[in-house]
């Protein structure tokens, strides 16, 4: 815990709400809050998935843990969820593949929670978990540093990425409630989160949409963050004093290159055939796809386009300096150990297959 020289805005006895508490990140945030000594936690979940495990962890602790099953699209559920809370960790997110679905699950759900939260007199901070994907690599040059000031995507239909659209709109609403209603907030934008519990190989390494794995990342650094590191960053951004209204990019320190990561994956999890596609080649293929999509009036939707290509595969560096300076966060698990745990988990999944 690198927090000694930083003051907290809450006491350990204050009531804390986690939305999406049974998700991949939510359950780890829950564990870290218990580890930090929080005594009253309310877990808001939509489904009963993973709930037994959370209950087991809760019972093993001395904390008073409430489990509340509901839907953030219901304003009543939101009101009940935020009642008397001092701190909200809003992690629930949509995984729909449609724009409307992502908007509903991310933005609309957040709006309901914000509206309920602004009426809560005890509330000291609303911590909103966004995504690094809200930034647009298309408006950046190769080699630029991506930090909190980097451009946000504005052409949503051209980018054709419902998830990032939902998160952009979620961020806008959080900022709006901060401005219009004085709601104290912090936004965290983690890079792709990996670790035990996450089954897929991250898309920033490459794609397997055409039956063969196309490795596109090459020597780019992957803006990854290990689950334990991410959860602790979220917790710190929620409790440290003096950072209201701030946004934090959250990535690990020792980022592997895409090539290194793929090599390790093949060595430790499973071997498979992959073809290296240079970034420029992939970029122009995306341009052709985009043109075809337009010409054919969407017969093939523009799922491959230059904006996504630049955002996910253009060579960039990523800065977590602000997060470290302002919250005292340091990654608790280095890449070597993190990748070992992740690959072991993936390998066990492969063996079960």
């Amino acid at each position: 815990m690198g927090t000694l020289k930083y003051n907290w805005i809450v006491d350990k006895s204050d009531l804390v709400l986690i939305t999406g508490a049974n998700g991949f990140v939510g359950s780890k945030v829950f564990e870290i809050l218990l580890e930090y000594g929080f005594m009253r936690i309310r877990c808001f979940v939509r489904s009963s998935r993973n709930l037994a495990e959370l209950r087991r962890i809760a019972e093993a602790s001395e904390a008073e843990v409430e489990f509340y099953q509901g839907n953030l699209l219901s304003r009543d559920d939101c009101r009940r969820a935020v009642k008397s809370v001092s701190l909200i960790f809003h992690l629930a997110a949509g995984t729909s593949k449609s724009f409307a679905g992502c908007f509903m699950d991310s933005a609309l759900a957040t709006r309901n929670l914000l509206a309920a939260a602004q009426e809560e007199t005890h509330l000291k901070r609303f911590l909103s978990v966004s995504s690094l994907a809200v930034h647009s690599g298309f408006q950046m040059r190769p080699g630029d540093v991506l930090d909190e000031t980097s451009p946000i995507e504005t052409n949503h239909m051209a980018r054709f990425d419902p998830y990032s659209y939902g998160k952009i709109k979620q961020d806008e609403l959080v900022v709006k409630y901060g401005k219009d209603h004085g709601l104290p907030y912090v936004i965290v934008r983690p890079g792709p989160i990996y670790g035990p519990g996450k089954r897929a190989l991250n898309g920033r390494v490459g794609i397997d949409s055409f039956g063969i794995f196309l490795h596109i990342g090459g020597s780019n650094r992957l803006p990854l963050i290990f689950i334990d590191n991410c959860a602790e960053a979220i917790v710190l951004a929620g409790i440290i004093e003096g950072i209201d209204g701030e946004v934090f990019i959250t990535v690990d320190d020792d980022l592997p290159t895409s090539r290194q990561f793929l090599r390790l994956y093949k060595k430790n999890v499973r071997r498979f055939f992959s073809i290296r596609v240079p970034y420029r080649t992939f970029y122009y293929l995306n341009r052709i796809w985009e043109k075809y999509s337009k010409w054919s009036e969407g017969q093939l939707p523009p799922v491959f386009n230059r904006r996504q290509c630049a955002t996910y595969y253009q060579k960039q560096t990523y800065s977590n300096k602000k997060l470290k300076d302002r919250t005292g966060w340091v990654p608790r698990v280095p890449f070597e150990e993190a990748s070992r745990q992740y690959f072991e988990f993936m390998r066990s999944g492969e063996e079960r297959k």
């Binding site: 995984t95 729909s96 449609s98 724009f99 409307a100 509903m104 239909m157």
Partner: protein, 365 residues
Amino acid sequence: MIRVGIIGCGKVADKHASQILRVPDSEIVGVCDQEELMAAQLAERLRVRLHFGDSQNFLATCRPDVVHITTPPQSHYVLAKQCLEAGCHVYVEKPFTLNSEEAVELIGIANASGRKITVGNETQFMPVARDMRRLVQSGYLGGAPVHMESVYCYEFTDERYAKALLGDKNHWVRRLPGGLLQNIISHGIGKIVEYLPDEQVSVFATGFTSRFLESIGETGIVDELRVIIHDSQDTTAYFSFSSQIGPALHQFRVYGPKNSLIADYDHQTLIVMPQKRYKSYMNQFIPPFSDARQHFANGCRNIKRFMRREFHAESGLYFLIKAFYSCLIENRPLPISYRDILLTSRIMDSIFTQVKCGNWETRVQ
């Protein structure tokens, strides 16, 4: 120029909007959702000038020629009535209404006000369905259909639908009188109704919850349905809805007195079964090659359509919207007749009644 409005700005509205924008001489003049943020997001993405949170205000301000209603079915009747009374033509997403009484009333209002209304059974306008229609109309079956089989499967592994439904105990689909069945089966029943010669039909239906759903504690959802339909001219049909059949088929077969047809909606293939017998072993040697030739020809036709930009995933929806708009402008017949809408509705009512009571037979007059 046809001025189009959309009420209901969820996932289905996106599909509608993308196809409306492809129809020549049409423009979306406004979108509306009772949750105004949803209307705002659709308007922003599609660059629609006006968005609303109130349907009365939307109709009064935008004065659209046609309104697409893409809300959950519980609100179809009220909104469609409001639009018709405001002088708009209406395209209602499937299922048309919650029951046949509402359907009768809406069609009555449409007729009285000189407006037109249709339902979004777009699978009936996919390329393979149009090919089948052409063949049937040309007399290929050799008379009225003797029997039909419609299989419509649903995948609980398809997270677009199933995750939303299973993950939400208050999902609107659960609150429909016919539950999950009501939201889906009009696709399969509509295909049968189109070729049923008579409106006097008997319906025999049985439905139950699959063991899969029972195993996850979802005992309230009926996801297996078997139906027999029998009309007064002795045309019969089977309809099967299943979440457990693998692969999840979407097929429709029409058996005529002379020849028969099989349409596969997933692969967009239409196979003809001509009444032709070969001598001796030739009857086992030649037809398989003839079938292979048909599948090959179907593949080529699909590729050709793709090359001609006619093979969009939503091509059925596009065709239905376009046909509906032409019917408004050029006074052509409706793409889906009122008779078909009402009969589909009545058969569905009968199915839900039987599934609910466990009765095997009710007669539909």
